[in-house]
Symmetry: D2
Subunit: 366 residues, 4 copies
């Protein structure tokens, strides 16, 4: 129980169901004195909003955020920031028939077994709409990090078999293509691939990548709260993610030590590394180079072809899911990955503040 | 700070450095009434002990565990179980020269940046010996789980390019081969591959797989403490792990929805699934089928060939690491993966106990 | 930071400022299957509402609660319950002038020192209105406890020098007298005392007592999360509380061992105690008898007589507080004490569920 | 379960039973770079050692501490500090007969109900020896605080009816009198009172007071982790404590607002208060003046006169406790109160470091 809070010092608590009255998040532990407006948050929420293009669900979700507490005269006060997004366009009628059976690839069955029953409307708490709270909090965390010179960039690395080309990397494209790919040519191919999937009443998966630049060295707490461990939990907690990689990830396991080790070197009087196979983290602690992680996302489980399943009475049945569903989750999850990474990193920065006596003296000594 | 504790109700706190007086773990929250002896724990520790074969370091580490508290008349009392392993064979002289420079692929540099200095002897707290506490606690968690009918099996899935064949799977072999591979033919090939690595003063990585059978449905706490999220953190917190997969993992991202969804069906009057691409977890909650996870482990960073690095004075230097090091971390990390999975699952089982009113009544009503 | 969450498994997170848009609480970890309506919660909130009598502030606070999530078809779903109370009658103009100085006995100065500035309207986050979230959550916790046969009763024990007589104890009176005293004669005397205080532009303190009946033995976690320790934190976290007692409390320190020890005896085949000086808790664990605690509450710091203080510019000034303020905090804090005790006890019950192997088997074994 | 850890960032985990092999504590989160030796800790442990005078038990407990990890070249490394004290003089035979019955005022019965059985030797985990870990950790916390200019002083305020005179206050006396009273005349009276108690086979209680000087303003986290709330939990978690007061405590409830409010004033260009009824904490946050708390301690429950109780078979019996027991717990608990206050305050200082953006910039910006 009590799994809807995340973070030790920068702690977020999300709440809300897909078809309830509203969804939201309480952010507790945001440092005081950060300039913050609803617009700062809305920009992030708009990045996860569906209905922008033909590859996402035609559902229209306005998702307007409102700040209810914790901000006074345009700045955070250090007290809990409560953010709310009212549900406006939910059509529960669409979901009435799923009350009685278990959709393959969804959490219907497991929620029933855990809690005895479930809010079946639109997936209830297990809906993708649950990420609204994460993204709203991610906007706040990102703003704090930005003020400290830390920037996060997440984008789609691949959809089905279509992968971006490193040398075509174009950060602006990631904000403009419907796939969130930072490579316009790859994006066009992916759109064609998705159109085929939809025609076949099927869906696709893909990979999201996130880069964090400007993180100071020393962040992450051995041995269990290592930065890579914390990021893995954060990313894997996003619905549909089935694998997480740090740096070279699965490739590292195939390489030899001589290939995988990053040599230390000096540049401009500072320690740096000649390569970054480690993805910016050594021994669970940031090393000052770019932090790199990847999330592997399964295909949308809601597909329109006929599927076998069982109902609550224990009868085997055939179903065909209706409604409005994205053929791929990846583009809308990009900002969720970026948000969870930002929240995790900010929490780690706060926790690290007391790592050495020197830091305590900086804050407490006159 | 305070990153050496793990778990919410079954909470372990590990301590100790590679070349300090001792290493250990305090297990707080173990249910009372579990029969427990030092031998139960020693069996697990022996599985991570080096020096058994030619592919592991010739260092002899006795690693005899002693129970200091929490067990009375052969049973756990519900109070903290303190376990200690004295360091006996550490030769600090071997490590003297690393005091002054940063080994590539190790945490020397990041510890220095975080804490201002470090215990450099044998890697100090970032040594693989840190896992002794995890494995000792894993032995206890596994025994509790076993009494509830839950069994974990971890083994080496691949070393470098050599992977086991599913159809040759032999659980007994995993306990007997020096590679911990459950496939004797693959193990011989891997041993030859490792011999070549050693000849070349190089090292290899690999993949560890863990299966959990008998886990009841309903375990895992949405939305942040999902079972797969918790397992990912647990596994990624093990030194050298660079990627974690649940079920089909990275393959899921390449598959279509129609391929990746597991159809529900009835068998013997119970809900089950026709396939298990999900790896036993849906929406972050166990579904009653086998839980499957994989850890991708980087090659041993301590290699004997010459490497470029810098020293604490900020000079670029060349080094050649000496001492006794495994050419591959994987076989010794198998029991660490199994232990972290056991600890995580037991904690999740305890947290889930109050998920529904019905459970409270079972425990509290006369 | 992040001090607005409370509880380990039944976790509440409160948010909101006195004169913000709204106040609320997110309850995470409430067992699924509890029948719950807004009315269940409103009944508790009405007990803390001011404006009922001449001894409380004439401010009219409607404080209507709305359930935003976590309840479906009249029952809790196990997912976070978000409760909101909109601020409707706040007149910020009353508080404009306090922006610039520090009210004695209030948190104005300490908030400024901690966060750099503060939401000064009505005390902002340090206002008594912050307890709305506590009481709403307390209503939910109390309902769960009630279903397990556990009942809490809180009431005013004394106001200034006027104390209830044990032999006049009348539980119904506590719900009807404006003082919340369970003794109508004492209440009349206390009302007269308060009238005198008001006439003198002064205020009074008092003592709140809470009894918990029906708590099973075995609740509370040695050594730091003892039940009495957890209750003390819960009660002392209520604004204006300056002392907490368990059982005989301060009297225990004056008694001899032979007077203070409670003899064990058998009644109806069960172990019980002949007296209850311990207040139902031994070694930090409930013993099955009535749990008894007392909170000592300071006088309202907002008084209308002239006071010395300083302003933000560091000048010594004289002030006279205006506005609407209760001459005594005690009666309105009674339900807050009861709520915090209920939340703490439910959390402790949930944490205790895995204390012995026997309990795990009850929940997990077929 | 898992109640043997305390603190969020400076986290201690204690373990050990009265008659087990050893007792100890793991301190996780101590800032790196603190000079620390075994002697620093031994000085604190010696203050709780019995056998020094005729008013404490003639048991000889050497209680020599050993540092097992976390200190390198005389300084803390930031990794867990494991401290152990071996049990040497325990005579279990003395306690054999208590295996079968429940001592009044002790935790025998409640441990049995919670865990199903207990380590009965010397009280097992509920023994006063459990505080060894607290005091060892308190020594470390106190040293960190001292380096930041914060000093704690605890002493006996009263024993039975004998209370110190404020104007006779002599800090040095507290370290020298067998009662730990900072008033030599009162101490002599208390010794005579205790001699009478012992003659009557009875025991006494008393009050411990602790002052914290030099604490910066701004420490403590509203609304649940207020500094006074955290201190109350810390102090109430010490065995035998039955009430906790902050500042004027129970007297505050009897005073009027005009008497209880502390006027703010300027001194040497800084904000201060003309009085300190609040005990240095306003709204749960330190205000920069002396923090004052009091713990009320019950009389030793082990008395030598005959008592009524029941045995595990549910029979009413008469017992007479034998063995070696202090007639009063207070003097030996003084250093425990001081230690718990130090641990709590250091943790609060660490948590507060990220309270405002300004602090993050101090630590992270170049």
């Amino acid at each position: 129980m009590a799994g809807s809070s995340y973070g030790k010092l920068f702690q977020i608590t999300t709440w809300g169901e897909s078809h309830g009255k509203a969804l939201g998040v309480v952010i507790d532990g945001c440092p005081a004195g950060l300039p913050l407006s609803e617009n700062d948050i809305q920009i992030f929420l708009d990045r996860r909003r569906p209905g922008r293009t033909k590859i996402s669900t035609p559902r229209k979700e306005e998702d307007q955020v409102e700040i209810l507490s914790g901000v006074f005269e345009g700045k955070t006060t250090g007290t809990p920031i409560s953010l709310i997004v009212h549900n406006t366009s939910q059509r529960s009628a669409d979901y009435g028939e799923i009350a009685n059976y278990y959709r393959p690839g969804h959490a219907d069955y497991t929620f029933d077994r855990k809690y005895g029953f479930r809010d079946y409307r639109g997936g209830g708490r297990s809906s993708g709409r649950e990420t609204i709270g994460r993204v709203a909090a991610g906007a706040v965390a990102s703003k704090v990090l930005y003020q400290l010179g830390i920037r996060l960039t997440a984008y789609t690395r691949s959809i089905g078999p279509i992968t971006i080309e490193e040398k075509q990397f174009d950060a602006q494209a990631a904000l403009e293509t419907p796939t969130c790919m930072p490579d316009r040519a790859a994006s066009l191919k992916a759109e064609a691939y998705l159109a085929d999937c939809m025609k076949a009443c099927d869906s696709a998966g893909g990979v999201i990548e996130c880069r964090i630049e400007g993180c100071p060295p020393g962040i992450g707490e051995p041995v269990f709260d290592k930065l890579d461990a914390a990021l893995s939990k954060a990313i894997m907690s996003i619905g549909a993610v089935k694998a997480v990689e740090i740096g070279d990830g699965i490739q590292a396991a195939l390489h030899k030590g001589s290939e995988n080790n990053d040599a230390f070197m000096m540049r401009d009087g500072k320690v740096t590394k000649s390569t970054n196979h480690a993805g910016g983290i050594l021994g669970g602690i940031s090393d000052g180079s770019t932090i790199l992680l990847r999330a592997h996302v399964k295909p949308t489980p809601s597909i329109f072809s006929t599927q076998q399943t069982v109902n609550r009475q224990g009868e085997e049945i055939e179903i065909a899911i209706k409604g409005r569903h994205d053929p791929v989750i990846v583009p809308r999850a990009v900002v969720v990955v970026e948000s969870m990474a930002a929240i995790t990193l900010l929490d780690a920065l706060l926790v690290n503040m007391g790592a050495k006596m020197e830091n305590l003296r900086k804050v407490y000594q006159k």
